[in-house]
Symmetry: C2
Subunit: 603 residues, 2 copies
């Protein structure tokens, strides 16, 4: 049989671009059992350089996909930030060393690992599910049906994408047509998908020009393994230690000699890593740094701060990652924002594709993530300005003082760590009963908390009970389950919950979409884990206790830390780990209302 | 070329038996670059059952070989012990729940995983170094030279072992002659090696008969996932929850019907797992337990408590593990004692084979491990007696009271956790200057302690700086390295240490045998990690601080906890993680004396 030179296929989701946003989406969808295809125009994955900073919240997300362990093994951790300022004697001196991450998080540090290694976490996970990136492929055209009925019907494939192979093998099709239910354009700052639909980028370009070099340093600088913000009279410089013995230097360029006057773009032929290091040397004086034999990677950029005017086309095509937002890399936000875009989108697409949720759920992606990107740009403007500004000295009283910089650095902690992200009120973020769990902020991620397992007193982390498996986690804060009176209330609740949750699942399999975890306030000495109704203990490991562990070192105060009412509260955590809603035992009807606002009642 | 039917080879170390003691030895020696061969008579590794309890200290040892992470992923953890006693109403009732492990350790719990899975940790590690178990092979004869000169010369191969294949392939040799420098007989309770040299087992057999069943239970017993000691008027029973949902029951048999009157051995044809479960049911009343579809494993045994009269033949052949000691399995000691035997032996053999240490070093193996086995037996006698005794009740005032049992349980905590092991004074355990680090007990393992890295403020665990790589770890407690005065002392020390350590290594490569870690008492705000002499910071990660981490959660008080004098102390940790000796800065000559007592000065 001759091989056809035109291949055509149907997929649930086509992802264009296998950078951090693309592989996050692909892995999440594949784990959810969605038929997904991912293509990229690069013949190989990124080998070095590019984005490398990972925030605490992103590490929590990696953990929810089972990828944090390997990430932490490979990455470098940043615990402390050192600030260097001009000294009286000329050159710089250590002004302060402070904690890098001050927000409450499971991973209280930033971490660095080159983009290729991070992509590999996902690529290897995808491979274990039989999925690889088709590359090098570039999209040639994209069309979406204009028929409203077709657009509403999730069984059809209303998006048609023509892909062209950049290196077709002998006898293989060089053109491929993919009919998709949904398309994700995760194709970077110069996104083809975005341009195909004339989506504009809103915002502007700054005047700040920076250079970046990656290498293994030989230096007498004592903070070379700490994150450093260096303000000198000879320019600013930032040090980001990386995996192994490598470091990255961000170097402010004082003049515009590397910018092409006509295009306004940087011209990489006018400057190189040696010149960048030479500029850094002036900032670092009196410390010295040797010229390395090789530079692992380098670049120059002008900070641009822009957000896409829209994130989706007819709820069928979505853009994500750098395709939606560009900003300065120094606060280490880029890759994090990108991965969290598709972490937010994937579960929504999965539920819609599986016929469990209404198409309207998809609108919450742009609603939640575009707002976040706008906040990011606003933050970045302030941060970049402070960072690129001249330091305050005797001669320059208008400069940025150390106190100003420090204050800004700490104020933005919740933002830069990623744990402060707060999605606004929407069908999936309903804060009607917030008062019953006042410190489990609806719209924010469920914070880490140690609990102990009722059956075996083993300390566990609540976030480990929230894997990104596209299921809603239903936390039953059951109160004191050793009390007979409370037991009666819990049994009544179990009956109501059973009848509600059954509405949204196929053939009665509640556990397909809902994972129930019980959290009792009984003590480890008294508790009988098997006194709970069967619905609330699908396995012995699903009953947890708000008590300290037998060593007295972990756990305790969960109800208090979460502000949870001890008479009994149900907390719904979205599949992405964000608190969706809360209801006291006697308002269980509002749980039905919550799910009915975006889930489909099954026959 | 025709295949010879008689194969002959030379190896540094031949290990007979690939149970826990054998694979521990093999992996450790292979990691040290020793030419090692391991044989076993079983055609396959153990699939289920057998020993399964792992102590906290053994987990620390696994971690030192890089194997704890996988172990912890696969094993079940026991944090709490529940005690059940006869109730007034007949049957049993919960009397108490207490902490399982009360000793200070990095892994404050016991863990269970079947022996085959534990062996696999080592087998896979060995495989990554190209070593597999030759099986099924049985030894046919063993001979050791009687020439004193030959026995002293570590370049020769004075032990000749004839091995016979139990399943030779077509055309393969069925007999193999191995000439070895050293042989380890890790061939179990019925050790062929032990018998070949007429080594006797000293001790006796008790009257206690116990049955063991492994299965996945369906029960209403609320402590099925805790370790349980159940004393009922219908006999004693112990529950050990295992990996997955499995449990092991240890069941006391009230009569001798399963014992063959003539041989005194148990006869497994007279009883089976169903009968054992039936006995357990009587102890567990009023709780019920269903008969499972299958039993994973079961056995019956009579407790015997014996220790081999000697552990070695002419410092050339050593026996280890069950070949040296037998005792009751209920305190979960067996596999731990076995693995720790060869953990103790391997580094000594490695240093002798490499020509770095004197043959006399090998005598410390029997000295240290036989004493331990005797202590183990003494403990086991008391424990087994208490456990097998009748409970004290109204009718039986002579029985064992809950308080007595509890007290014994807690008294033996240091022993059962394994962290209390204290090797007596010997050339490798020299306590002359104990006073300068009074809580780093010479002869005990270095306890866990969080420190922070000077260069990047990352919290680390000191035990992670003590991998089992056959190197001595030299901890330089350098005092306040920010003080100029102290710096002068440190530089002087570095000069002396350099001239001492160079004596024991080939061609000046100190790091081949010694790994130097500096621990400064400067603060993370002030420290300059690169102010230390080069010898004391072979890499930036080797300088540690006694300070709390930036989150205020880990570290601090190391000097205090260890009782270390802040004016400066050198601590030598043996390659197996036990403190070898201690010296203040001005007694550095005693470090030379320590090493000279068992190491060879190289030309």
């Amino acid at each position: 049989m001759p091989t056809s030179l035109l291949k055509e296929s149907n997929v649930d989701v086509l992802i264009i671009g296998a950078g951090p946003a693309g592989v996050m989406a692909c892995n999440a969808l594949a784990k959810a059992g969605i038929n997904v295809k991912i293509v990229d125009q690069r013949p190989e994955k990124v080998a070095a350089g590019q984005a490398d900073g990972v925030q605490p919240r992103t590490m929590e997300v990696l953990q929810s996909y089972g990828l944090a362990e390997r990430f932490l093994k490979e990455a470098n951790q940043l615990h402390m930030v050192a600030f260097y300022n001009p000294s009286q004697e000329g050159g710089i001196e250590l002004a302060d060393r402070i904690t890098d991450v001050t927000s409450a998080t499971r991973y209280p540090f930033e971490a660095t690992l080159h983009q290729g290694a991070i992509e590999s976490l996902f690529l290897d996970s995808m491979k274990s599910m039989g999925i690889e990136v088709s590359r090098p492929f570039t999209p040639a055209s994209i069309q979406v049906s204009e028929n409203e009925e077709e657009l509403k019907d999730t069984s059809g494939f209303p998006v048609r994408v023509v892909l062209r192979s950049l290196a077709p093998s002998e006898g293989q099709a060089d053109t491929e047509i993919v009919n998709a239910k949904f398309v994700i354009g995760a194709d970077g700052a110069h996104s083809w998908v975005r341009k195909a639909f004339n989506i504009t980028m809103e915002g502007e370009q700054s005047d700040y020009i920076w250079g970046v070099v990656d290498f293994t340093p030989d230096t007498d600088f004592p903070d070379i393994r700490n994150r450093c913000a260096i303000h000198s009279d000879n320019g600013s410089c930032m040090i980001i230690p990386r995996e192994g013995d490598k470091v990255r230097l961000y170097i402010q360029l004082g003049d515009n000699s590397a910018v092409d006057a006509t295009s306004g773009r940087v011209d990489k032929t006018k400057i190189g890593p040696h010149q960048l290091l030479e500029v850094a040397r002036k900032s670092l004086f009196p410390y010295t740094i040797k010229t390395p034999e090789t530079f692992e990677w380098w670049t120059i950029y002008i900070i641009g701060q822009r957000v896409a005017s829209q994130y989706s086309i007819r709820d069928r095509i979505f853009i994500a990652g750098d395709a939606c937002h560009t900003h300065s890399p120094k606060a280490g936000q880029g890759m994090n924002a990108s991965m969290n875009d598709t972490h937010n989108l994937a579960w929504k697409l999965a539920l819609v594709v599986r016929g469990l949720a209404d198409m309207s759920l998809l609108q919450t992606y742009e609603f939640e993530r575009r707002k976040y990107a706008q906040d990011l740009i606003a933050f970045d403007r302030q941060f970049a300005k402070l960072f690129s500004g001249k330091p305050r000295t005797e001669l320059n009283q208008d400069g940025v003082s150390h106190e100003e910089f420090l204050k800004a650095f700490q104020t933005f902690g919740g933002f830069t760590s990623g744990v402060g992200i707060h999605y606004a009120e929407s069908p999936i973020t309903n804060s009607t009963h917030q008062a019953f769990a006042k410190d489990l902020i609806i719209g924010k991620r469920l914070p880490p908390q140690a609990l102990i397992r009722a059956a075996d007193a083993r300390p566990v982390e609540i976030q480990d009970y929230l894997p990104s498996d596209c299921r809603f986690k239903i936390l039953i804060f059951a109160g004191n389950t050793s009390s007979t009176e409370q037991q009666t209330k819990i049994e009544k609740l179990a009956d109501s919950m059973s009848s509600i949750l059954t509405l949204y699942v196929h053939s009665g399999n509640i556990s397909d979409i809902f994972d129930i975890i019980s959290i009792s306030s009984a003590t480890k000495k008294d508790v009988r884990y098997n006194s709970l109704p069967a619905l609330f203990r699908s396995h012995w490991s699903k009953v947890l206790l708000d008590d300290i562990d037998v060593q007295g070192k972990q756990g305790g105060d969960a109800y208090k830390n979460f502000g949870v009412d001890s008479s009994g509260v149900v907390v719904i955590v979205r599949p992405d780990g964000y608190v969706g809603t809360v209801a006291p035992f006697d308002s269980v009807k509002d749980i039905k209302a919550y799910f009915s606002s975006f889930m489909k009642v099954q026959a």
